[in-house]
Subunit: 332 residues, 2 copies
DNA sequence: ATGAAAGCGCTAACAT
DNA sequence: ATGTTAGCGCTTTCAT
């Protein structure tokens, strides 16, 4: 027996509540689950007893009996690929899950497919939210096999078995092109290694949007996959005096902004327009001509994902959905 | 294997394993828990059966019977106070916990004391790791009441009931002063609102270290709690031509660095020395004279916290410990 | 070294 | 509208 300061009082059971309320134990259960009508007076007595005893239903027993653990597994990526915003998602997901009576259990990417199988087979999780799936991810198969409802945050390939919530990256791509043209740019330089990361579906869809929209314009699209610190330098080199270049990156924004500020070369904005993601940087930099509203959308996306999850869990025969959230430019 | 589409196959139980291995069900349990000697041949037959069936013990049943859920609750702060590093801790904690057979369940700060009571009383968590406690935090009482073992990450007031793992912030304070003096600075400016956040114990201890060390030198310490973007400006204003000012901040580093780069005024470093936290910024900026190694220590701290937790859980009569990790300067 | 059997505290089917 | 009862799948005591 580990470290105990005084004998920890044994937690009260539904039996104790029943005794105190003068009802049968099953009635206590029915009050809690709401799975059958209870008279107002009985309900009140039971609820009083619950409050008086500080009763909380035992999770192990409930899970064992009902096969519902009240826990949603959240598959988190190995590392934070996106300048530390991961926590925004996770926090929002955890809070929204609690609002609906669920807890969030972390499943790290490192655990791989075996980890999924484990949380599913042991019954710790009754549903899964999946983040940052690769287009061909080994963890997808066990999730589908499990038959548990799942939501992917970030649209991967089509999984008709599960729901999807994501930003509409294709539309974002089109918006960026449109904006660059509006700002009279001749060239759009995409940094943050978009070329390499085609395996990530969001990047891939973003580029599709870019290419589709650019095809109808004179805009020249350049994929830059060199070091972030030299992005401004390279951009400047390929921009003749009379022209303007727009810069955009799904990540690595901070580094590029810093490089621009440090060299001081590009501050005037006459030859270069900056339209970057990362609204947390908006306050930092006067260099941003246009910033997509991403942070606030991340919270929105997280909450939508949880609500969709709850719908799948609670609605009988619910069918999976795809929800794409429209990007917007941050005003100001 | 053909069960992907139909009703999900019922998970095998220890009963099934026992039948296949030709032993009693309790023997299967003993093989799994290791709580009594098993002959090599029996163990092998059981393990084969387990592998063949893909058996995973039912978590609800195990928890109900043994009162050990295999789940550690992780109390995470409301928002990421520290430029997105929170995820480094959480990821490292989750991974290390898995290495020891535990899962991590998120408990958001938002849930407050009631949330702690809930996870404790329902039995979902058998232990708690607490992050970013205030010096007088309402959530501490229910944790102590629960009698469950806990580890606080970040040293709060003394809680003899629980273990503590943290960076030695007092030593960091002394190191910063020492370094500023070595670099022949006349003044140390601390930004990131250290004055206001005295309720956070790490900040408080850091300042103690600063003050103690500064008392023995000529160094003038200035607490700056104004806007981060104007920190360089203010620093410059209070630095006469013949003097040097050192800057340091536990957070808000990114903003200050950016402001310095953008104004361009301070790049030379003749009047100002930068010694900042956040080694992820080291590659960005040539402005940093000295960077404390924090990121790698964060992983270390997380792992230590989990290992300490496991010690409390597994060692009978284990007594809580305080572990302070020494800060170091990043080389180069 | 192994087996048999008694629950842990719930939910839900089957009573009334 | 409420009560009675049978397990869920384990861990663990008591046998042998």
């Amino acid at each position: 027996m580990g470290s105990s300061r005084g004998p920890r009082a044994k937690a009260p059971t539904s039996q104790d509540v029943a005794r105190l309320a003068g009802v049968s134990q099953s009635t206590v259960s029915y009050v809690l689950t709401g799975s059958r009508p209870i008279s107002a007076s009985t309900r009140e007595r039971v609820e009083d007893a619950i409050a008086k005893l500080g009763y909380h239903p035992n999770s192990g027993a409930r899970t064992l009996r009902s096969r519902r653990s009240g826990v949603i597994g959240l598959m988190v990526p190995e590392a934070d690929s996106d300048d530390g915003v991961l926590m925004v998602f996770i926090g929002a997901i955890a809070r929204e899950a609690r609002r609906h009576g669920y807890d969030i259990l972390l499943v790290t990417a490192q655990e791989g497919a075996a980890g999924i199988r484990r949380v599913v087979r042991t019954g710790v999780c009754e549903a899964l939210i999946l983040m940052e799936l690769d287009r061909f991810d080994e963890r997808v198969a066990p999730v589908i096999d499990s038959g548990l409802p799942f939501v992917t945050l970030g649209k991967p390939e089509e999984f008709p078995q599960g729901s999807v919530v994501d930003l509409d990256f294709e539309m974002l791509g089109r918006m960026v092109v449109e904006r660059a043209v509006e700002e009279e740019c001749d060239r759009l330089l995409l940094f943050g290694g978009p070329g390499r990361k085609r395996t990530r579906n969001d990047v891939s869809r973003f580029l599709t949007g870019i290419e589709d929209a650019a095809a109808e314009t004179e805009l020249e699209v350049v994929l830059d996959s060199g070091a972030l610190a030299e992005v401004p330098e390279r951009a400047l080199r390929l921009t003749p005096r009379s022209q303007r270049t727009a810069l955009f990156g799904l990540n690595g924004v901070r580094q590029v902004l810093f490089a621009m500020a440090a060299t001081g070369a590009l501050v005037d904005g006459t030859r270069m327009l900056i339209a970057l993601s990362g609204e947390d940087l908006a306050d930092i930099s006067p260099l941003l001509a246009a910033v997509p509203q991403l942070d606030s959308r991340r919270t929105e996306i997280s909450e939508l994902a949880v609500r969709e999850m709850v719908r799948l869990l609670r609605t009988d025969g619910a069918t999976p959905r795809i929800t794409l959230v429209e990007p917007r430019w941050l005003e100001g």
